[in-house]
Amino acid sequence: MSASFRAWIRGVAMTPFVAKTDDTFAELGQRAVLAALQDADVAVEDVDEFVCGTGYGGPLSGQRVAGNLGMAGPRILNVENACSSGVAALAVGMEAIESGRAATVVVLGIDKLSALGKGALPLEGSDVEVQQGVIMPAVYAMRARRYLHETDATPEDLAAVTVKARQHGAGSPYAQMRQQTTVDAVLESRPVADPLTLFMCCPRGDGAAAAVLSGSPPGDARPGVGLRAISLQSGSYTDGSRDMTRSELSERTIRDAYREAELTPKDIQVAETHDAFTIAEIMYYEALGFAETGQGWRLIRDQATNRDGKVAVNPGGGLLARGHPVGATGVAQVCEAYWQLSDQGGECQVDGVDNVITHCTGGGIAGFDHGACGVSLVGRA
């Protein structure tokens, strides 16, 4: 194996992310797994281990997917880590390859959130903030209000993130929100938690994404793409004050991933970042090292993160356009990275991509910045 890859990515696939699928949970997962195996040219019998990341799928999600595919029998592990469930599953898969325990691992990220009804995601009812009515959009709304208070950013900048996401998503067959929009339309959409409007919040959705990891490169002429690093961290706890205009957890995890991959922000052409809400993308420009602290809004104003910008952020539309079936997102980001690195991005393709960073974080819990964060660096051999 290339010394610089901790695991090769032999193939990927995802289902289109939709508001509501007619598939069962198992069928949804099977679509992604079978298509990824086909993409990788790997037979079901050759899978040594299957890792399933899901936020809301419940017990034995992986077994439900694997059962009548003929993939059950070997080790199946189910991984839950809120919005980072998918990338956490990827980390487990990568470690299985690296340790030599498995030669071929299938990693699936999946959620079918339409089964939960509409509205904001359900949170843990014993949490002291949830008891008092907090919802995830409100946490980001408070981040946004403080960010607007401390910087020269404006609500129009928050809206511009959605405009860019929809422009990018218009080119993706996997995105849920492919209609273009305008700053005015975003600002005039229904208020959710001031200053965030409906269009500034990512839609939920049903979807699955899968990747086939291997200890060896593809045997044919296909490009070699692999994982240089995945860093997985948890949020730190405090009952005191915290600067909500930054994400300490994301900054720490991103720093760790860059260090492990021996890369810097200057080496990155494409970032897949966790834009669950527009303010998040602006904050994460700073965490990813693309802008100084408090200056992230300038990138969206200067259109520096468009597909043809200085660094393309979420060229497939990100969570804002693709939608966010929680556990699927971390793997979907790596699918997007694979397509960019193997020139299969179609209308979303960015020119000259050598390194992609993916960043996934979330999980509302009192006293934490976030529950968990996972960052991968994906490269071309």
Partner: protein, 88 residues
């Protein structure tokens, strides 16, 4: 863990009005985080008609209720200091 006594006032770090209906709190309600000089940050409801600006001083009212079905419930309410002086 240590026990600390908190003054009845603090400073609003940030707040938002939530427009997603809640079974207990209605069609819209304002929530926020309040900091105390002694360290702790509290989350609670903001009792004000309009969205309060960050850094507004507020009075803090904290109640703990034992709900037979849901267990211990904490209800924290922040009222702008000036508003309270005028109304009391």
């Amino acid at each position: 863990m240590t026990e600390v006594s908190l003054p009845a006032t603090g400073v609003l770090y940030s707040s938002t009005i939530i427009h997603v209906p809640h079974p207990e709190f209605g069609d819209q309600y304002q929530v926020g985080y309040v900091d105390h000089q002694e360290g702790p940050r509290l989350f609670g409801h903001v009792a004000a008609g309009e969205l309060l600006a960050p850094d507004t001083p507020v009075h803090v009212d904290l109640r703990i209720e034992d709900d037979p079905e849901r267990g211990r419930q904490i209800r924290t309410t922040f009222t702008p200091v000036e508003h309270q002086e005028v109304s009391s």
